[in-house]
């Protein structure tokens, strides 16, 4: 058993979320997956958008007949549910399509699911979460090794992102306080917020920090552990590139939340044409600017670094 554990490293899990719908999460996830697969990495995409599973469309294949429902209802092993994605090195696992209602999975079921995901035979498992900041979505998001968020340069997408990240952080904090027997502290503080003069995220954090040395330590550890990877999709001008830097800055300076701005993808009408034709963009237009941008951000994700730093590194290499 020990030998087995050494030989078979469990896959790295990336989840993609971000609050608002229609920001291109599924497109980004499938494209990043293809990039990894083309590099020879074994990838499994999981469509956990329980309301509207449609990742197969981005890959240009038909809706698979089997889904996660079979895992829960018929106890079929997860690896038997992975179908061919049509791309070498990449498998696809579709979320529930019919019988399971969107919020039908219990927390225990979800933990079981994640245990099995960790045992999948792959290098990377990429999980597409639906839109929204429901705690169910957020719990899945938090179980990842890398939490990716996709935004577009629109005020609502950015607003939802802040909301999503703040919720994600509190969910994580509450879960970890639970193991210290302090589960209700956050809820109680929020319930009596008028009394403590708490109006927003920062004030709540400050209040909690002030409660005890233990609380302060837990919060500080959780804040420094928390990290989101930001992808800015569908930009129209080069000025908009900086929105990623701005969002990253706001998250840090206002909320104390760490993030990495790994890259942007410019607007290309060809992308929606590809989706409608059920064609995989990365394969149909591998030399396009967007494809190159996606390759770059995939590399940044792998390295866990920011987009600007990457350029800097390139510059340094050129100087003899």
């Amino acid at each position: 058993m020990i030998m087995k554990a050494i030989n078979e490293r469990s896959p790295e899990i990336w989840t993609i979320g971000g609050g608002k719908g229609g920001t291109g999460k599924s497109f980004v996830l499938s494209s990043v997956g293809i990039c990894l697969a083309l590099q020879g990495k074994r990838v499994i995409l999981i469509d956990a958008d329980l309301g509207g599973a449609n990742l197969h469309t981005f890959l240009g294949i038909n809706k698979p007949g089997i889904s996660l429902t079979n895992f829960f209802e018929k106890k079929i092993s997860l690896s038997d549910l992975v179908v061919d994605s049509g791309i070498k090195n990449m498998g696809l696992l579709i979320g529930a399509i019919h019988s399971l209602s969107p919020d039908g999975i219990k927390y225990t079921q979800k933990l079981k699911l994640f245990r099995h995901i960790k045992q999948l035979n792959a290098d990377y498992v990429l999980i597409d979460l639906g839109a929204g900041a429901h705690f169910n979505t957020i719990d899945t998001f938090l179980l990842a090794d890398k939490m990716i968020v996709v935004i577009i340069p629109e005020i609502i997408a950015i607003e939802n992102l802040y909301f999503f990240l703040k919720n994600a952080f509190f969910r994580q904090l509450i879960n970890s306080l639970g193991s210290h027997g302090l589960r209700d502290v956050v809820q109680n503080a929020w319930k009596n917020r008028a009394e403590h003069d708490i109006k927003n995220f920062t004030q709540l954090i400050d209040y909690l920090r002030g409660l005890s040395k233990t609380m302060e330590n837990i919060i500080n550890t959780k804040l420094s552990d928390f990290k989101a990877y930001i992808i800015l999709n569908r930009i129209n001008t080069s000025q908009e590139i900086m929105i990623g830097n701005s969002v990253k800055s706001i998250c840090k300076k206002y909320f104390g939340l760490n993030s990495s701005y790994v890259g942007y993808i410019e607007f290309d009408p060809v992308i929606s044409r590809c989706i409608n034709k059920r064609q995989s963009y990365m394969q149909a237009y591998p030399a396009s600017r967007c494809a190159k941008e996606i390759e770059r951000l995939t590399e940044n994700l792998l390295e866990g670094r920011d987009i600007i730093q990457r350029y800097e590194r390139k510059k340094l290499q050129q100087i003899p």
Partner: protein, 186 residues
């Protein structure tokens, strides 16, 4: 580069260790605008942050920038003592402020002084490296129609944190002379 607050300042400006002067300048300008004006990034959380917190962030940014400039100047001094044989290695700030003619050659000098590659400018401005090179060579015939060239020069100048209006007016005055000559020929 050293100084006891050096890494703290870089962190405030959200820069990696070893950031160049031009990166520091750009980060400073970006953050200053971000925290003093309304934008789609800050509007959603207007009600969450008090004016006092905002002012404090701006103060920290300002302090970090000024602090970093000082440490760069110190390094500059030692550098200058070592390279006294190169008078053109003067303070960049002074050079660019004193300059009134921005020939392609002058622009290249400023760029090289800032240790910036054409590729960096191309990546950020989306102007092809070839055109940027032609701008520096004042290779007017290779440049696109006037309106585009104008835009390219503005982007280029902004990247170098120069007064883009001054640069473009001066540069285009030579371009116009060349264009008139071309028209006379035909």
């Amino acid at each position: 580069m050293s100084g006891k607050n050096y890494s703290k300042y870089l962190e405030t400006l959200e820069l990696p260790p070893g950031a160049s002067l031009s990166e520091i300048r750009k980060a400073y300008q970006h953050l200053k605008v971000l925290y003093s004006r309304e934008s789609i990034v800050t509007l959603p959380i207007e009600d969450e942050i008090s004016a006092e917190v905002k002012r404090q962030i701006l103060r920290q940014i300002e302090e970090a920038y000024q602090g970093l400039l000082v440490s760069f100047e110190k390094e500059e001094d030692t550098l200058e003592n070592e390279m006294s044989s190169r008078p053109e290695m003067k303070n960049y700030e002074q050079t660019s402020v004193e300059l009134t003619t921005f020939t392609g050659q002058a622009l290249r000098k400023i760029r090289e002084r800032l240790n910036i590659d054409l590729q960096d400018i191309a990546l950020s401005t989306r102007v092809q490296t070839q055109y940027l090179n032609d701008i520096e060579l004042e290779n007017f015939e290779a440049l696109p129609p006037e309106a585009y060239t104008r835009g390219f020069i503005i982007s280029y100048a902004e990247y170098l944190s120069l007064d883009s209006k001054k640069v473009v007016d001066d540069y285009m005055s030579r371009y116009s002379v060349w264009k008139d000559e071309q028209e006379k020929k035909t």
